[in-house]
Amino acid sequence: MIAFVLKKLANAAFVMLAVAFLAFLIFRLAGDPVDMMSTEQTTEADRELLREKLGLNDSFLVQYARFVGNAAQGEFGISYRNGQDVLGLIAERFPATMELVIVATVLSLLIGLPLGVLTAIKRGKWYSEVLQFGSIIGVSLPSFVVGILLILVFSVTLGWLPAFGRGDVVNLGWWSTGLLTRSGLMALVLPSISLSLYQITLIMRLVRAEMLEVMRSDYVKFARARGISRYKIYFRHALRNCLMPVVTLTAMNIGTLIAFALITETVFQWPGMGMLFIQAVTFIDIPVMAAYLCIVAFIFVFLNTMVDITYAVIDPRLRSAN
């Protein structure tokens, strides 16, 4: 098990080096940073001094190594747009996105898993068919449409929930949380539902398909022949064998949600990383984009490594590393 974990961590480190290389290339391809920083009054000597100060005269590999070294310490430089520390900018926005994504993921698992099991074991019942049909709608509706509809119904018409913003937040160290205030929780409802609707339907359909497959397996038939009660068979024997693809899908989705929550964040004016990224793209703010790329990649790699380790926890056959 320890060898297994070490091997996965080594893989993860290698992937991160490759991503850092791409982020580094963005700087190189985006033109000479000295041009962007200097004005018409800057003398050639000043430019050369700046060039030397920024280390741009060093060889390619030395610059890359320095970039990786800095990035590993969370040092991504200064934003071109407003001169703020990039890491500080991201740290300010990161909790908002993370809370939205985590709540949306928890919602999608809490609702998607039981619905998937229900539609599989009650196949052919009218409510299963309705759910199946409804899930097609859920999969096909884009999340900004869902978001706008939710705002229309619950904010504009009924006036129950706020239409935008994050409500009041409480600072726990550098992490600002909206989970501890009433207005923060109220503000979280609509965006997290709009973000999770697609995930719910996806998880429900995946679990249903997997359950139907597993229910046909010999060990489920044998468990039935041993007189194991049906609910133990559904939730102990069958569901656990369905979890691998669910874990994979959920982890991939968390990454995707973080990276692409920007649509929902835009609709709800949610002060998260997505909004930051949109602004960075508009202003060609390369340090922010590079940092965003590295952080999102890190989250993906981290989640995938966790997935591999979770596999081994779920399935004893994967515990020996080979």
Binding site: Y219, K221, F222, R224, R226, K232, I314
Partner: protein, 328 residues
């Protein structure tokens, strides 16, 4: 010794149907048999003859849309063919144990063999504590001949060889001391050298515990070694039943004769292996009269006209006009 006057399992005129778009397929037709405590009844026949189906029908495990359309099943005198699924859950495992064909796939790969044993034991003996159930699990593993059972109880199925896994499956079947075990091709997926160990184990346990066994197999060798009596099935019907020695050495039905002649004798090298020409009819195309008549070397006009029923033939019974007034 065993009380041979009472029966463990009685099946009377069991009929199983599968309704589909084109009509109703009769998968089992008028099956009657009984098994006494401690007795092993072998069920033989070609694939699709209905031998596994008989076992599933008795356990109430017929796949939708299959259903018991007639007859009755009695276990120790109690009728069990019309019970609800909840009531059958209490009988499966508790009164009727099961052994499946492939030990590689019949154990859940994500749980230790111990947890699967404890689960089964506690399902049927709810008053047993977790530690008492675990003690019993270790005892069962020991009884089925697994070395170092106290250690092996915490291992996962993939850490056992095929033969050892089938021993675990047998331990699971025995977990709640059932009256009857239905073993569906228990040795088919195993090496020949392991087969004899498993059938020997099954026979010993059945005799020691007084458990009745329905042994479904297409392997006549397994029947000869293990069973006390044998039932031969063809196209959903029981066509011959009797003591193993009698049926093997002196079969009454021409189909059984053909089956026996198809077993190549060890050491005898022959040009052509004996075979029964033709194939068993599909369930939707069973000929009029005796289902075997198109392949039967002895068939007469009556065989093509009327369907024979089981009639006594010395120690057993056979469904053939040869034993019931001739084929003319």
């Amino acid at each position: 010794m065993l009380d041979t006057t009472e029966t463990c399992l009685e099946v009377h005129n069991l009929t199983v149907e599968f309704p589909n778009r084109h009509g109703i397929l009769t998968a089992l037709n008028d099956i009657s048999l009984e098994i006494r405590p401690g007795e092993i009844l072998g069920m033989v026949g070609e694939s699709g003859a209905g031998k596994s189906m008989t076992g599933l029908a008795i356990q109430g495990l017929l796949e939708h849309p299959g259903r018991i359309a007639g007859g009755e099943v009695r276990l120790a005198g109690r009728r069990i063919d019309a019970l609800s699924d909840q009531e059958m859950e209490k009988i499966r495992g508790r009164e009727i144990g099961a052994i499946f064909q492939d030990p590689l796939t019949s154990l859940n790969p994500l749980f230790t063999v111990g947890s699967q044993l404890v689960e089964t034991i506690r399902q049927h003996m709810p008053d047993k504590s977790r530690s008492a159930a675990r003690e019993r699990a270790i005892g069962l593993l020991k009884e089925v001949g697994i070395p170092a059972p106290a250690e092996r109880v915490d291992h996962y199925p993939h850490q056992f060889s095929g033969g050892m896994r089938q021993r675990v499956v047998i331990a699971l079947a025995l977990a709640a001391e059932p009256r009857l075990i239905i073993a569906d091709e228990p040795t088919t997926a195993l090496d020949v050298s392991i087969q004899a160990q498993i059938t020997g184990l099954l026979r010993r346990l059945c005799k020691e515990h007084g458990t009745a066994v329905m042994l479904v197999t297409h392997d006549m060798g397994v029947i000869a070694e293990t069973a006390d009596r044998v039932a031969v099935m063809y196209a959903g019907r029981l066509i011959e039943i009797g003591l193993v020695d009698t049926v093997l050495k002196n079969p009454a039905h021409p189909y059984t004769k053909g089956l026996m002649a198809s077993i190549p004798a060890l050491g005898a090298r022959v040009e052509h292996l004996h075979q029964i020409d033709g194939a068993m009819p599909r369930l939707n195309a069973i000929p009029q009269g005796c289902a075997f008549n198109p392949r039967c070397p002895m068939a007469g006009p009556r065989c093509r006209r009327d369907r024979p029923t089981l009639v006594p033939t010395g120690t057993g019974a056979a469904a053939c006009w040869l034993h019931d007034g001739g084929t003319e």
